[in-house]
Symmetry: C2
Subunit: 211 residues, 2 copies
């Protein structure tokens, strides 16, 4: 990873920037979804999608018929950004309000995973990352399903993380202002699993990812 | 709103598309943050930011020195996408796995809110949307803080929502496959408020937004 390019180096709030592989990987692995930006007909287009990571590459998938995947597969540049919100930061002045968050931004030219075996392994990794062991317990994929699914891979050659944590950074003179100051933490939480109407046995649901 | 342009009309899974103002507004209002895509030096750049809505326009803000705001203020196109994940959808085949989500995509050319009074009103609306009544209780903003903050507004003239909800859509033949099928719901939840070390009184925290 050669992370601190002109595009990923933080110019402002640079104390929030992280360029080491472990931090970038950890944020990517923790984020339930990402937003991929690319250029279509000269316009920026930002599409939410699930992603997963294998080693030093990030993957995403979709219908082979999708506009986004077709465009990305053409060798165009993409920017994949994944963000988790960790809390609202409440200061004594509006100006110092903020959020605690973890975010990763990756630039690159995604490649279409064309080899059927590599594609199959990537999709199995995707399912098993969310639900360990589930791939082998599912009704096996068909050749047609594999064909209808496109997988893109992007090497993490130009990536950075940006993280804010901790209490508000109020101006010294404001600290006695009569109002609550601190952090309201938030996190993704699981609700009660909702089995569908078709189950024929008493199967147990897997744990909810990331919760 | 003239939503169903070539860019916002769903080509695939078109039953998931919504183009009415009320749906677009509701998703924008529920999402804690968004991702804004723009083109810088010919590359797509996707940046997470907080947003808020007033009427039929979406707003975001940042440092007047920021690369993103400077670029967007130049009249360039932007794509603002906000996504909430509502659950993991577990089917009997890998192919029919999905997520339940609500997402909005808006295209436009953001304008810089230059008028100081309009900017002030927008920022007050931003704070009060998250924490009702908080703006007037804060240490008043200074002229310098207003100057240092850029606010962008984008009319929702080309916007659409995409929503998936409900159980998995398994193939008929797979319904007896011996595995759990259904939805694992997720939602953003509040942790215990963390007051900082500086409070001089027993002020109460506001409710956590969206939780």
């Amino acid at each position: 990873m050669n992370p601190a390019s002109d595009f990923t180096r933080l110019r402002r709030m640079h104390e929030r920037g992280h360029y080491d592989r472990a931090t970038v990987h950890a944020v990517l692995d923790a984020a339930p979804l990402c937003h991929v930006g690319h250029i279509i007909a000269g316009r920026p287009v930002v599409i939410p999608t699930l992603h997963w990571r294998e080693g030093d590459a990030v993957y995403w998938h979709g219908s082979a018929a999708s506009r986004m995947l077709r465009d990305n597969a053409g060798g165009g540049e993409a920017c994949l950004t994944a963000t988790l919100i960790d809390g609202y930061v409440l200061a004594r002045s509006a100006f110092h309000h903020s959020i605690n968050y973890r975010s990763v931004m990756c630039f690159g030219r995604p490649r279409l995973v064309a080899d059927p075996e590599e594609k199959l392994a990537a999709l199995a990794g995707f399912v098993n990352r969310l639900f360990p062991g589930r791939w082998d317990a599912l009704r096996p994929v068909t050749e047609q399903e594999i064909k209808a699914t496109s997988v893109l891979a992007m090497e993490l050659t130009e990536a950075s993380a940006k993280i804010r944590s901790g209490p508000p950074g109020d101006d010294e003179d404001d600290l006695t202002w009569p109002i609550w100051g601190g952090v309201l933490p938030v996190h993704l939480a699981a609700g009660a699993p909702e089995p569908d109407a078709h189950m024929t046995g008493g199967w147990a649901p897997p744990p909810t990812p990331g919760c």
